[in-house]
Symmetry: C3
Subunit: 158 residues, 3 copies
């Protein structure tokens, strides 16, 4: 099978599986998409453009991701918010063996208790994934967002 096509399909599947856990309240499966020593960041675009190191959220390993899930479950957030992610424009920038770097646009729509669906956040994923035991996992995932007013403490991942 054509290697480039297979790779695009596998990375698209990784991204699809990732957003599916967040959008369908399967938060416990969210960290499974990462390596143990992963980096996960949500950071404003201007901070990246101007090289300011202040992300909104930063997790430096899988334990921190799991802690975040626990915090979200314990907080018992009311009213619940439903996210729907849309990912498009996948571009693979580098591929070497079991490591790949890629970017994609993402859009998160959000529906609250009143039932109105709004634009929550738009941005760009800048990711690096590695393949271990035949499975791709994020070694590094940076959600670099355009939209300024975003929730932080008790927000679902993006």
């Amino acid at each position: 099978m054509n290697q480039a096509i297979a790779l695009r399909s596998e990375i698209q599947e990784l991204l699809d599986s990732y957003v599916e856990t967040i959008d369908n309240d399967d938060l416990e499966a969210w960290p499974d998409h990462f390596t143990d020593d992963c980096l996960y960041e949500i950071i404003p675009k201007e901070n990246v453009d101007f090289d300011l190191p202040a992300p909104l959220i930063r997790c430096e390993n899988k334990h921190m991701l799991r802690d975040r899930v626990t915090a979200l479950r314990n907080a018992n957030i009311y009213p619940p918010t439903i996210y729907r992610h849309f990912v498009s424009g996948l571009k693979i920038s580098r591929h070497q063996g079991d490591e790949v770097e890629f970017t994609a646009n993402y859009l998160v729509m959000s529906t609250g208790l009143e039932g109105e669906t709004k634009i929550y956040q738009a941005g760009r994923y800048v990711d690096r994934a590695v393949r271990l035991d035949g499975r791709w996992r994020f070694a590094s995932k940076r959600a670099i967002f355009d939209t300024s007013r975003v929730a932080t403490l008790l927000a679902l991942p993006v």
Copy 2:
């Protein structure tokens, strides 16, 4: 060819072909994506979460789909509404031979006569498709939506 990759591509193509008929006024081709004894439902998320059996729209075979198209054509809806569907996050949950179950996020944007594009509906497809004569068709399609204010009687399918 890698079977899993081929399957994802074929199911993505089924979803793409499905939305293309709705969005480009090719309603007569919309039922062709279903089996004769299909189920098609548009149902609010809370009804599914709380196991309430009241869908907004329910068609229990292809005849009912065709009746719906006829009703839309005869109603001669003015002003016309343009839908644009965006589908992302495809996840195949079960695959056995010529049958597959899968989910995906969907977003419907809507533009009315005044020319403003708004968010019409966001939700999740929970589908089952079967392959007959080499072609995949929806045996069951449930559009489970997050957005509360939606049109019913004379609305285009989602």
Copy 3:
């Protein structure tokens, strides 16, 4: 490898690469997605439906695309606008050798200096691509948009 699946993947990759250059300020790479004698149009849907020949923007070769990029760079637009494209519903209508015709839905989200992400434009790509030296390029790209209020002179491409 299954030819139809490979083709869909390659065309999806062309569209993804195309939007990635616009959304990430890599405008100089935008014309590289076209043939030398390409056609690029941004035109309202009603003009197409009623066969009115007045596009908002029309470029009849790659030189005109490059001129447009130069104009955008020289205009030094402030405040800067960030676009995020989302493309879905790819449908290949015709394929013959190294030539393919296809359509897809597109949505452009836009974030201005104030940091609010809004819907800029929704529409449909009606495209024709040719393969030269193993690479697909747009011979003709028509962005047929639903949304009425759109920028023209100093707007990024869609």
